[in-house]
Amino acid sequence: MDIGDCYVGWATDEDIRTRGASGGLVTAMLAAALEKGLVEAVVVLKKLGEFEAVPIVTSDPEEVKAAAGSMHSVPIVLSRYLEYGTKVALPAKPCDARSTIEQAKRGQVDIDTTYIVGLNCGGTMHPAMTREMLETVYKLDPEEIVGEEIDKGKLIFETKDGEEHAIKIDELEEDGYGRRESCQYCAVNIPTMADIACGNWGVIGDLAGKGTFVEINTEKGIAILENAIDAGAVEITPADEKGKAIRAKVDGAMMKVAAAADKKYLSPIEGSHLDYYINALSDCINCGACKTVCPVCACGEGAKCTEFSSSSDTYKMSLFHLVRFVHLMDSCIGCGQCTDVCPADIPLTHIYQRFARPIQDEFEYKPGMDMTTPPFFGVDLLEEGH
């Protein structure tokens, strides 16, 4: 097995294979990594309901197996739950994987002991919004939903009576529903920065729906897949050229969709920028949640943004926000966590991206794609004749 190889794989356990999103490969790999001692812990989502899950760090393979399946309405970034020095594996959407790498650059995660099992991602939805959408657009009772799926541009919900209800995602998004805004313009669909990239794109023929497409990106990727094969937990077959081509084609099409969303949401602000920002931030209640959830921020308590800022300040804008805007210019990956948690509904991700994009473009630095150091720390003593 070599870096760059592509396979289609599935769990040998029938139960995992059926409950898994495509072939249960990810679940089987994660569980086998625990069982064979490749890792000590795994981060997964523990399902609480159709639209609700909590991240757990577990050493129990049964809990990993119970977590099989994709949750499209749980936009939680799992990298926040990694602990330095623990041998750990996590399923990772591109935003999970990218933030893991940014944490590693800041000494919060040991990249050598962290297995990033990438999941392709076309986007996630806000759980509260999903419920509202089910009631108002689908005219369905959210409690009746037993499954969800995205297929051929449609968002499909399955109800208890076995019926499927499909609506085009484009239409949903025009009405303000569907994927979160940040996911609409997220242009990274295949986690090339993860150790191994898994998804259902490119699985064709008899295996469609019953197999997971994997691409090996690193030595760790080889290790975790071979470990699962040795344990008898998964089987693989080489991916065929047609499958690979389809996967690349869908990825390209999704990137175009993201670029269009980019234009729609992030075109320059008309009128006074300052008025826009002062106004947007005026509802802030200073709760600090946006900082707490941010998966690329490595500051704990006593961070610069909080230490130098006080709720009794009478400035036109809070220093807390201004500091965070600068600090995240080189690291914001646009994961959407800050917007999701803001109790004042401030479109924070949108704002952070506005600050981050120009400078990331200028330095040709895209955070979380590899271990390249951020521009500031790239200044070394030997540069330019010193």
Binding site: M329, E362, E383
Partner: protein, 150 residues
């Protein structure tokens, strides 16, 4: 017409508040040389000494604006002369970030400037301060000035 003349006169009288950060080894010495050489300069600048331009924290600059500065200058040794090897390279990168930030925020680009001034460049120091003051006078009081601050 009468109104326009009135504003023009107030504009002329208005003196901007400028916060200037100078590194200890070069630019602060430059300020001293300017004084000793009796080079004329407007009384618009409040100098804050930092050990090196690389010590410039974005917090300092943002805080200066929030406190009511109309412009912020920061200055260090010429490239190659930093007493801490490469502090001014770091300053250059921070400056790029701050420039991009200030632009997106909607503050005028003219309000923030980085320049290198050595300890012997008293005349240049006075020139930088004079030019920057003129520049700020043109853009007027900062829209981030808190209520009640002149």
């Amino acid at each position: 017409m009468a109104e326009a003349t009135a504003t023009e006169t107030t504009n002329e009288e208005w003196q901007p508040k400028i916060v200037m950060f100078c590194c200890n080894w070069c630019s602060y010495g430059g300020a001293d040389s300017a004084g000793m050489g009796r080079f004329q300069q407007p009384p618009t600048v409040r100098v804050i000494r930092v050990m090196c331009s690389g010590r410039m924290d974005p917090v300092f600059i943002l805080n200066a604006f929030l406190e009511g500065a109309d412009g912020v200058l920061f200055s260090g040794c010429h490239i190659g002369d930093c007493h801490y090897v490469n502090g001014n390279y770091k300053a250059t990168i921070k400056y790029k970030f701050l420039k991009a930030m200030v632009n997106e925020l909607g503050l005028e680009d003219e309000r923030l400037k980085l320049d290198w001034i050595s300890a012997s460049e008293g005349e240049r120091y006075a020139q930088v301060v004079t030019e920057f003051t003129e520049q700020i006078k043109k853009v007027g009081p900062s829209p981030l000035k808190p209520e009640g601050v002149i």
